[in-house]
Homo-oligomer: 355 residues x 2
Amino acid sequence: MNFCIIYYIMILMITLKEIAERCGVSIATVSNILNGKTNFSEETKERILEVIKETGYRPNYMARTLRAHKTNTIGIIVDDVIDFSAPNLIDGLMGYCEGKGYKIVLENIRFYYKTANIWKSHDEYKEAVNKAIQEMSVIKVDGIIYIAAHSRNIDCIPKNLDIPFVISYAYDDLETPCVVFDDEKAGFDMTEYLISKGHSKIALIMGNKDSIHTLDRFKGFTKAMKKHSLPVNEKWQYYGNWNLESGYDACKNLFESKELPSAIFSFNDIMAYGVYKCLSEKNLRPGKDISVVGFDNREVSRFMTPELTTIYIPLREIGEKSADTLIRIINGESVEQKIALPCSLIERDSVCDIN
Amino acid sequence: MNFCIIYYIMILMITLKEIAERCGVSIATVSNILNGKTNFSEETKERILEVIKETGYRPNYMARTLRAHKTNTIGIIVDDVIDFSAPNLIDGLMGYCEGKGYKIVLENIRFYYKTANIWKSHDEYKEAVNKAIQEMSVIKVDGIIYIAAHSRNIDCIPKNLDIPFVISYAYDDLETPCVVFDDEKAGFDMTEYLISKGHSKIALIMGNKDSIHTLDRFKGFTKAMKKHSLPVNEKWQYYGNWNLESGYDACKNLFESKELPSAIFSFNDIMAYGVYKCLSEKNLRPGKDISVVGFDNREVSRFMTPELTTIYIPLREIGEKSADTLIRIINGESVEQKIALPCSLIERDSVCDIN
DNA sequence: CTGAAAGCGCTTACAG
DNA sequence: CTGAAAGCGCTTACAG
């Protein structure tokens, strides 16, 4: 039965005109009823609705939007779909859009892939984003959401762009609305958690020095330490580059210090895994001899032994909020310029209470 | 400079008519030149191309496709973007389409999310797929690719659908072209690899009993054993459900056998991780006391200690091949009905040579 | 080599 | 309460 209806649409391609003929009315009448205009006799209205249902008629999208200037389509430009945060972000976003009757067009910049293999300069990246925006503009999307792979200043969105635009997981210099998560608070919360477990000697394995994520998490850490009047040992602060090896190396260096910390706060789960590796070589047990925490709640964090205490980033929620914000803009409502969603701490078994 | 061009398009919205006026020719002439028709005086052609470039004119997509019936858009219907295989599949596919000048529209069925939370029956799923296909048909995509989350008979594609259609990562009863990977050969290869390392006593921790993946990998295993005239011990064969716990449980049960195998072939990496867990409780070292191999090459396989030997599934290649197949169909070329891409074995440190 | 005109399938004032 | 008509921005025979 379902199938029959589909056949109709695809093979017969019924038009407004035919519906009108079958009902003995004008196409204007059918169109108006279809668009929810009122003031029609119940009789004609019912007859038309009946025929529409029978035939499985669906308006021609191209014709409609050629006139009506609204496509009910939202464009997503994503830095890279293979980034760990992208799927959940996209899922949250699409789930929300679906509920509101929007279609999704996707452009994949392939940021990681291309920076590693193809792109020679930042200009090339900018050009790719511009091209993506142009594509979106050609098909007249109602709005665009840019999904970044990491927090940074997105500097390639044209000023005065007349398409509603929202940035997800990053921000820009202009007044473009953005939805991010609260790195600083997460850094603060994790630090306070460690302190609550009796840890005052906390080592840091951070990300790249110029990363916004590094900066903000560090700010949160510092605030928490200050709040509890705890001294911060700069010798225990390392910069990594988010990958396993850098976590491993940092941990190794750490053990050359005279005094050792009781806990290691790694700014992502992958580096925390490097720490585990290093500890195991030294016959030290994470969560027993020394506490370790991560960030991101990557799949690997559940598979580590002991399971890693970490920070959950509300990816799905960021996606939903981004979509909500964009749709508000489309509808002419006012929105906050910057929305920072809170993370939450996932307590597992990698921290011991030394109180 | 880039930006200026964009502004033009978006704000001024130049039309064919205006180009024609500026050049002192008819819109038909401009349109024809734009569409690569020949037989025009070099002079007019140059003048028109010049003005088009100057103004940054781009044809109105809606108007063009309303007439021309080709959208250069491909629809992707994906079981679930948050499935582990989806991002690379999508990436491969989009990379290929981009190169060929196609746009991508995405529909996310949210298979896992919905089966777990919302969907009550298979019919609801079918309806969702039908709805997605309808949406695609309304916007007149040139073709559709269905990306499945696991191999199975996709039974909800309308027969005689007049839109080119390709199934990725699964297949159907009809003659719909599909691109999958060769589970059986991968099972065979892994088994032969273990045999080459001196293992003849091989335990199996498989997936669900009715899974195509389970069936095919098992078939490959059996073939390899037979080829080398090795006996198969059915007591060492367990069915899991792909998750950590089932791998753990199977391993635990295995150790109640009188005789123990020298290697365990887990049909995915996650269950292999459960095996690692179980072994560590028994103070047995994977890769030393007993060999373990997995399947999928999930991120976690690189993070296990010792790193897991596993099977790489050519996700990106499947995506590319699917796109290639679809575009061939769109262009009226003939294609193979079923394409099975080979996997490859990734040798790491979880197998010891006992020759 | 170039252009007038019909038409793709709709929406939207406007008239009655 | 309903409909004739213009028009969205293009493409495509067809005529010259």
